[in-house]
């Protein structure tokens, strides 16, 4: 093939790695590489290119040329998507089926499509990710220039049920994928319908200049329902009431409302809508408009198509997205049908259109807040490597509590004072040295979840309580795991109470370094109030990941409490991420709990767990 000048071979044939025939697939790929030929597939349904007027697929022949590029891992789904794009009148710039991704994968295609002038939007259907780090990098580059919509199946597959760290067990494959692609500004759709709606809307409407959205309606109920949809999809409604009154008072009747939604009332006809849409178009404070047309007795539904035809191009020209949601009988349905497949943003319900506008605003916000800044921290790599080396010599795949604490101290993360006691005498002595009250925890490489084993005693206020706790911990842990090698107990300073959080960092097998933040304590796996991000990341994204958890209000202070030290939390996330990024021998770090105190008073790591990559020497 190479002799004939063939640069790329498309292997449509199936029966390779998808059915376990990995050897033959590898053999073909190696042979092709040796001869300078790139492979697309195997197990694909072909390629379509508008620029080359080439439809080398076994999908439908009626492909409309346009500006949406589709990359799909599923052949059958890809073929049916081609058909669907024709029905929906979505023009395609390219369609590539990647199949088993033996050589060319989504990342490489993304790199290509970013510079592909005909492509304005990229839609990807993914089933499994092979080289996640590379994909994230490619997505990051692509979303700088054009929106990327992703559909990924397999949400329900739980990546890691039982893992040694909470971060590991909570980091299910889909949770991580979802968080990481959102971090890249990717719009993740639940299904094909959403994905196509978004692509169509994004390709046919201009990006807004701001977030002031106005709803113009002739029905109160549908107006409220749409306001709910805006809340759900993150579309911000313009709420400067005097300004809104100034813009719309001339076109809204006295018994209507100029508060957003702008209620023209049930007496409105297309003439009133014309006035309101004209006012919104001319006003520079309004950035997007949702038009709700409900068919009531006095409404002249027959003039609806004309209204849409008049304003959609004007808004487009002015750089303002607009959408029309129409509800009613035959005339309304005919109007919707007449615009179906035209690219005009006309919808039959409140939520469909707002979902599209919401997707557009997510991308808008991503671009607005995108930053090349990377949050960095100085960490003593050599000191960490030395601790890791000693653990390796000891043939361990984890660090003991005092080793993990040494790393935290070296990285500048405050930890509670601690000592290791191998006997009861030492436990009493260490407690006295640290100062009461103290915490006692079992020290054993064979007991990872200490609370479950009855291996933790809190708030020990004197030597008698230390003696009782020591006996209780030893007995409970011996019962929990009779074969456990018990090194002794860790005696720790009893930290004053604060908000208990969990911060983790791990080297994900597919996506590389990731960080996790959430509500900590012993119920972390039950509450699952956590967020993930790929590392490195910028300060804005760290703030987002903190805000994303349901318990975020706790950090702002509830029931008279003061705001917590969010800077300290951010600093800890950056430091853990930096350690996992730079120290390749470490697979997992987890602080649970990290106690956050009031603003300015810092944080304190009470329990730190560090796991090493297995198999590395």
């Amino acid at each position: 093939m190479r002799q004939k000048g063939v640069k790329t071979a498309l292997i449509i044939t199936s029966g390779f790695s998808e059915v376990g025939n990995i050897t033959e697939e590898k053999k073909i790929t190696a042979y092709a590489r040796e001869h300078g030929v790139r492979i697309l597939g195997p197990n694909i349904f072909g390629v379509y290119s508008a620029k080359a007027s080439l439809n080398a697929t076994f999908g439908t022949r009626d492909v409309i040329a346009g500006n949406v590029a589709i990359i799909t891992q599923s052949g059958a789904l890809g073929a049916s998507m081609i058909g669907k794009t024709a029905v929906e009148n979505i023009g395609l710039s390219a369609m590539v089926s990647v199949g088993n991704k033996a050589d060319i994968d989504e990342s490489e295609l993304l790199d290509y499509l970013v510079t592909h002038d005909q492509t304005k939007i990229i839609l990807i259907y993914v089933e499994g990710v092979k080289e996640g780090e590379r994909l994230i990098k490619a997505l990051n580059e692509a979303t700088k220039k054009k929106p990327v919509v992703v559909i990924k199946s397999g949400r329900s597959a739980k990546g890691a049920i039982a893992a040694a760290s909470h971060t590991g067990s909570l980091a299910g494959a889909d949770e991580v994928f979802d968080a990481l692609v959102r971090q890249c500004g990717v719009l993740r759709a639940e299904d094909i319908r959403d994905a196509f709606d978004w692509c169509k809307f994004l390709s046919n409407n201009p990006m807004p200049k701001g977030e002031h959205t106005v709803i113009i309606t002739n029905g109160g109920g549908i107006g409220v329902m749409t306001a709910d949809a805006c809340e759900k999809y993150g579309v911000k409604l313009y709420d400067d009431l005097p300004a809104l009154n100034g813009i719309f008072s001339g076109v809204v009747p006295d018994f209507g409302s100029t508060k957003n939604p702008i209620d023209l009332t049930g007496q409105a006809t297309t003439a009133e809508f014309d006035g309101a849409l004209n006012a919104a178009l001319r006003n520079d404070e309004i950035d997007a408009v949702i038009t709700l047309l409900s068919e009531v007795a006095v409404f002249d539904s027959e003039n609806m198509p004309e209204l849409i035809k008049k304003y959609y191009p004007q808004y487009k020209e002015k750089g303002k997205p607009i959408l029309f949601s129409c509800l009613g009988g035959d005339k309304v349905q005919n109007c919707i049908n007449s615009y179906h497949g035209s690219g005009h943003p006309v919808y039959g319900g409140a939520y469909e259109g707002v979902s599209c506008l919401g997707a557009m605003y997510r991308y808008y916000n991503y671009l607005a807040n995108r930053s090349e800044e990377i949050a960095r921290a100085d960490i003593p790599e050599k000191a960490i490597e030395e601790i890791v080396r000693k653990a390796r010599e000891d043939k361990r795949h984890f660090l003991l509590a005092h080793e993990a604490q040494s790393i935290m101290k070296a990285a500048g993360i405050p930890v509670s004072q601690s000592r290791v006691a191998q006997t009861l005498d030492e436990a009493v002595q260490c407690s006295g040295e640290i100062g009461y009250p103290v915490v006692m925890k079992i020290a054993s490489k064979d007991i990872i979840h200490k609370s479950d084993a009855g291996g933790v005693a809190l708030d020990l206020e004197n030597s008698y309580e230390v003696i009782d706790a020591y006996q209780a911990i030893m007995q409970s842990c011996r019962t929990y795991n009779p074969n456990a090698k018990i090194e002794g107990v860790d005696i720790l300073e009893m930290a004053r109470p604060g908000t208990e959080l969990i911060i983790g960092a791990r080297r994900d097998k597919i996506f590389g370094p990731i960080v996790m933040f959430g509500l900590g304590g012993i119920y972390v796996e039950v509450m699952k109030d956590i967020s993930f991000r790929a590392f490195p990341l910028n300060h804005h994204e760290i703030t987002n990941m903190i805000k994303e958890v349901r318990s975020y209000p706790l950090l702002l202070g509830v029931r008279g409490e003061k705001k917590k030290d969010i800077d300290g939390i951010m600093d800890t996330i950056i430091k853990l991420g930096t350690i996992i990024k730079k120290c390749e021998a470490i697979s997992d770090i987890e602080i649970n709990p990290l106690v956050a105190y009031e603003e300015g008073e810092g944080v304190k790591a009470l329990d730190v767990r560090i796991l090493l990559l297995k198999g590395e020497r």
Partner: protein, 346 residues
Amino acid sequence: MKKIVVASMRKNAGKTSLIVGIAKALHEKIGYMKPFGDRLFYRKKRLWDYDSALITHIFNLEENPEDMSIGFDPSKLRYMYDTESLKKKLHEVISEIGKGKDTVFVECGKDIGYGISVNLDAISLAQFIDGKLLIVISGDDDTILDDINLFKKCLHMTNINFGGVIVNKVRDVQDFKDTYLPGIMDMGIKVIGIIPSREELTHFSVNYLAERLLAKVITGEGGLHNTVKTILIGAMSPSTALSIPSFHEGNKVVITGGDRSDMILAALETDTAGIILTGNILPPQNIISKASERNVPLLSVPFDTYQTAKQIENIEPLLTKDDTDKIALWEHLVQEYLNVTELGED
């Protein structure tokens, strides 16, 4: 004040239950201590032995269960006492507990040698406090004979006040009496009771199971008193499970993964005492609501199914303070099968 030291040759012989039965049958004011605790409970920084707490509750004793044990771990006893100070401590505790009592029961650790390195084994205790030693023996017939022969040999080496042997959990009392008792008597060992085994004494409640597994009760608190007779592992498909006769028996507990909604529903469709959800995985809310409606406790544990089953296998069906039927049965068994008057004789 009589001092009766109760020991057993092997663990789980039924010492505590027998003490309860004997104390009830005696109708006397009793005291209790367990110098070397082995069933420890640690709550709110307080440490006590389960058996001490049980007997304190059943007999409304005024003393604190925490004061009925001297230690639980050899490390503490070595750290705090030598032989002389230990003896002194024992006498202090027993005189305090024995105030105004007719009989004080001193229960030994899990088996006859338990605590010997810290002088709190059965023989040392009987010698230190000059108490009468009762030995509880249980197991199959051959084990019982082995244990009696072993004890007979040990008896020659010690200078103790030996009260006799109680043979517990015997399958056929009359057969045992006919076949083995004459030989035991010939050895010069006094047998003061042969107690039959009763299946109902081996059952426990779902609440007891939850406490032992340190499980989180997700819902169905109203069903925690349900009696557990059978444990099943729900690893198969629901249709297979439903075709197994034991799956339809009442008073069963099913162990299954928290994500096995199908199996949980199948268990809820039949007469189930409780469901143990492994792996710290919670089922969907609709399943939890269904269990709540039917008052079937859902217990969540962090372990996998194998570990959970293994832990349950090791659970002893201990008497609890709420087991009034079992306590009454023990009193009845003691009255019928044990010569209580011999306990007072030297």
